[in-house]
Amino acid sequence: MFKKISLLVVVVAAISIGFVAVSTQTTYAVAASEWKAGNIIDDALFTDADSMSAAQIQDFLNRMVGTGYYGRIAGQCDTNGLRISELGGGTRAQYGAAHSNPAPFTCLKDFYEVPKTVPGPGIPANNYGGKPIPAGAKSAAQLIWDAAQKYNISPKVLLVKLGTESAGPLTSDDWPFLKQYTYAMGSHCPDSGPGGSANCDSDYAGFSIQISSSAALLRYYLDNMTKPGWPYKKPYQINSIYWNIVESGCGASNVSIENMATAALYTYTPYQPNQAALNNMYGSGDCCSAYGNRNFWRTYNDWFGSTTLPVAIKSSNSPTVYIQSGGYKFAVPTMALLQDYGISSGSIKTLSDAALNAVPTPSVLSDISKSISYLVKSESNTDGDLGSIYLISVGKRYKLKDTQQMADFGFTSDQVRILPYGLIYPIDDGGQLASFISTTTNNVFKVSGGKKRIIFSEALYNSLNTSGKISNLSKSTARLITSGKPISDKPILIKKLTTAVNLYANETYYPITSMQVYSCWGFDGIQNVPLYAIADDSYVGDFGKPQSLKCMVTTNTGQGLLLNGANTYAIPSSYQISGQTLNATTSAIAKNLTVKSNLSRFIKSNNSATVWYIEKGKKRPISSYPNLLLLGYPSTPLSIIDDISISSIATGPNKLGNGQVVKDSKSQVVYSIMDNKRTAYTSAELYLAYGNKWSDIETYDKSFLDSNYPSSGSSVSRYLATDKADVNYLVDDKGCKILTSTILGSHGQSRASLPIYSASYYPRLNITNCQPLLKYVKNQSTSTVYYVENGEKRPFRSWSSLMEHSQQNVEISIISDSTLKLLPTGSTI
């Protein structure tokens, strides 16, 4: 039992300690040694009007209320004054009532006022004390932002001024009185009261004119301090600056003011802190201490980080560049990163080795990195930003929301470098890192799952990013995030810098490796597929093993197409050739092209004279124009197609047309091609009788002919049959002859054993002039007349014998001697 109770006590104690621990929050504190009287804040920071948006100012005020002495719970306003008054007198409400300011109290974050634009009596209408917001009133945050923009002064500077000039101060007071708003900035309050006290001009009473007139004064100081007759503090020279008001008799010291912003601050508040004030940074010094500029410097550091921009330095003997901040130097890995930190490479200061070495690097014992990085956090999780992790890019810091967002961007905790808060926080606040990013090259991406995915279509982007939140990153920062596939709701073309255009459809890349393919798919104007060029090849990724597009394709429905833009061909299935197999998406794109005709068996490209013959899944070269004619051109037209499609078809042996006469290189035998076989001519006379010329002969390797056009085993016949019984031919070099079946029989020929005449087999044989062959024949060189019967030729002994045999009606056909010789000689008539 006792053990249980002891355990309970320990738990309670632990909870209590934890509560106390979380109730306190340390801030980034500056040390007296860091104070430089001549450079309180850099000009660029002082005039950075865009360093905060109105929303960011409001957020700042929301967070600040309740954090100071007059505050109990950060972020909460004690509107009704329920808590105990720090000034005594019971509750705050009771104290307020007793001092002419009854509750409710209106905190700065909730304060609205009608802007007072010109000096004049009275306090502008506002919502203090629970009154409704007057027409035309603006929030305190908006008033601060408006003044910053109008006079080009950093809103951070105005907030710090408000936090140091106002009683309370207003920025953190959770039960402010209306009086605290009236002269909140101490603007137009000359130190002409008793003992140098403020003597405020009532024409400048009111929060809005206090903010705007103080910004206007700072701007006026900046714009006029280098003109003749400027009686106040001057930049770039030594100025005598008092420690306290003249009446105090504390005297002054010389300060070399290094910039205009510091001169403006000394003009606005013409005192510098003495050592006592610096030694007690958050408290009082001595009777000669003044705190205005000390408090400005300290508060700016507390709230917004260093008042000086990081400086890039290097030695003349080394290329290594460093950022100098907070008394340390941090190596800069790349010039691109230096620029992402908002420092131009042109502003690098070259120091001597000794001067550079005098700037230390962070101790090895600390967690602070020796070099800057894109992903950073400060060393403490309890500092002003509670240890947030940032992505640095284009001079801004983007806060990462959580570990999930880290994972979405593909970042790991190992990549996060720890840097001083004072180096990180002065970088412009880019807000929370959005899940959509843009690059300086105007590309937008959605980031998730560890990858960035480019979006080309503005309409698609707008539909996906309904919040409109987007973070702008540099190219080098964007490269840190692995690229995935683009996001597109329709097929698009992506033009990379160094490689081919890609068709991107249904999350698949299809490289287009030539202009021919680009054209055959109709992307040069026929297809409605937008082309997007990207500024960096690394912006698209996850290519896998892409399949290049081809012009010869087979759609998902099995249709063969030879894409050719507006003149696309259908590929007859009989060709037995198949192209690149398309899926449904790419098939749909291909089918957008109009099919004008079937692909011819004759194909060629514009880049070659070779004509090919498509047959049984192969393309076969046609050796000559006569051969092309023999194969059927031009009645069968020629299709001009791209080289890639031609090369995608398997190549077969030379194609020879029927009737093509060939010989092999080692033989004198001439053959005629008939149905992929070769048939020999047995004599030159017969060869010529068929109308061939010697120049028609093409010579091939014997092996080629034997393999592809083997011998038919027969020879070209002198006699040819047709499908008509009385129309047969004798191919004779003295002219072709038509033979009736009777005459054919008299020559000892049988129709059944003769080859059938076909114009394709005998393309050069002109049968239109064939003359009937008679039974009486002779050759041209002799006078002997023969009578042909029973397969013999019987000579006539004499002319009288002939006349008798013919019954005085003799007609004689002249035939060649070679034909005559084929007929055996019979008995003389």
Binding site: Y69, E86, T182, D191, G193, N199, L217, M281
Partner: protein
């Protein structure tokens, strides 16, 4: 045996009761602190060394403002009207030969300066707005080339008009 057991039980109950009371007290304390009704923890946090000192200053500022001890930041008060004695004039010969008229305007928050310089029969006039500054305000840019009026004794008159009140300060300077 029974008596011993009862004694032990009573002692345990007392101890348990004590712990419960402690827990209730701590919880009440934490709730009061968390809701801001009390502010005891703040007295012992790190503000005691740094920020508490500043807080003390802020506390005084607010209290003084409420009590109107430090200045007239109560909007019901008005600043005293400036007099001619609040204007001081001086001149400086610049390297380029021109003459700059410096002026310190105490008790001025805004207004207009009208500068008039006479030399022989020549007159030079210039107008400039009053630029506010806490120590003394001033009209900036009152710079006159010598050739404008020539050498001699320049009679300088600066009239400052602010909130309907007109004060004129004069001086002279020998310009060689």
């Amino acid at each position: 045996m029974i008596i011993k057991s009862l004694r032990k039980s009573t002692r345990s109950k007392k101890l348990l009761l004590t712990v419960v009371v402690i827990v209730v007290l701590i919880s009440t304390f934490l709730i009061l602190e968390k809701t801001g009704i009390t502010h005891i923890i703040g007295l012992f946090d790190n503000k005691t060394t740094d920020q508490a000192k500043e807080a003390e200053i802020n506390s005084n500022d607010k209290q003084d403002l409420i009590d109107s001890k430090t200045d007239n930041r109560n909007s019901d008060d008005t600043a005293p009207e400036p007099t001619v004695d609040d204007i001081s004039l001086s001149t400086q010969r610049e390297i380029d030969g021109s003459v700059t008229i410096f002026n310190e305007l105490r008790n001025y928050s805004d207004g207009t300066c009208d500068l008039t310089i006479n030399n022989d029969n020549k007159t030079y006039t210039q107008t400039a707005p009053v630029l506010y500054q806490a120590e003394f305000s001033s009209c900036i840019g009152l710079n006159v080339p010598v050739a404008t009026l020539g050498t001699g004794t320049w009679q300088i008159s600066l009239t400052v008009t602010s909130k309907g009140k007109v004060n004129t300060k004069t001086t002279s300077v020998e310009v060689q």
